[in-house]
Symmetry: C2
Subunit: 191 residues, 2 copies
Amino acid sequence: MKLKMVEGTVRLLARRGLHATSFSEVLELTGAPRGSVYHHFPEGKEQLIREAVAFAGARSIQLLESKAGATALEITEFFLNLWRELLSRSNFQVGCAVLAVTVAADSPVLLSEAAAAFRAWRKRLAELLDAGGLGPTSAAGLAATLIAACEGAVVLSRAEQSMEPFDLVAVQMSEHVRTLLKARSETIPAE
Amino acid sequence: MKLKMVEGTVRLLARRGLHATSFSEVLELTGAPRGSVYHHFPEGKEQLIREAVAFAGARSIQLLESKAGATALEITEFFLNLWRELLSRSNFQVGCAVLAVTVAADSPVLLSEAAAAFRAWRKRLAELLDAGGLGPTSAAGLAATLIAACEGAVVLSRAEQSMEPFDLVAVQMSEHVRTLLKARSETIPAE
């Protein structure tokens, strides 16, 4: 039941933001009994949100793991597609739970949980992109840029209720990765 | 006084999000008399937020106008720097008011005001980048990407309380623009 509540909280955060995400909404969404609130989250709403951010962060990394060993371009397109599906499946109603917490966080504890999630994404995505042919420097830069560009593009597409901004960004990101890969293949002699 | 209240609302949205932005907070921040609320905003909070989003949108475009006639690379670096200064001046406390409204909007009216602001940014930035040497197709793509990447990078840097993610993104964006300009100069013969 605790996991279900945490998952429901991620969904509410992603759809409606931090302040609209309350225990009442989580109970209604998940059908959890009221007693489970203080049983599972004795520290209150902050604990619930903190655990939701950590859960959302870990789940995103888990999704990325399926692309371990792929090329940087494949990883990039997989990553772009994850976000695109989030928009299309929800009819532009849903964004990123961690972003929603960051822009409305009223406590350093929540901000620091969001920071940990973003840093872990950047780190793991950079490792995969590095192994996928980019080398460590470009990989670290591209990981930050892919995450930032997708986060921002999802917000533009949610506001505009249209895939157009997201798709413009996705094309540019794929082109950028191709350029980075080409530049690297030209500077490193084949063995 | 109305303008002062609208400006104050933009600041609150950018710093604390949609739900923490109330008339009481705006009155406290601006020193406006309580009577000015219903005098200037007879439709209530939604009107205040709507006008704040429109104001933030128009102000950003006005800032861009100072780079009319500049090269696409100069425009890109100017744009990146606007966001970087927002982060550094506020010690990572402040982000984008329009994004904050988008991810917590509970009314189609607010979402549509945010959409209008984003669309106007994309359009004007694309025109400037086109004139700055990119051509219309790359300019439309880059405008969306720059806005998305900056919006996302600002969120990462706010969460992490560090310029590191923003700076990684800024380097990649500048590199990407250089590549687009180079590709264009190679396909269009000089006259």
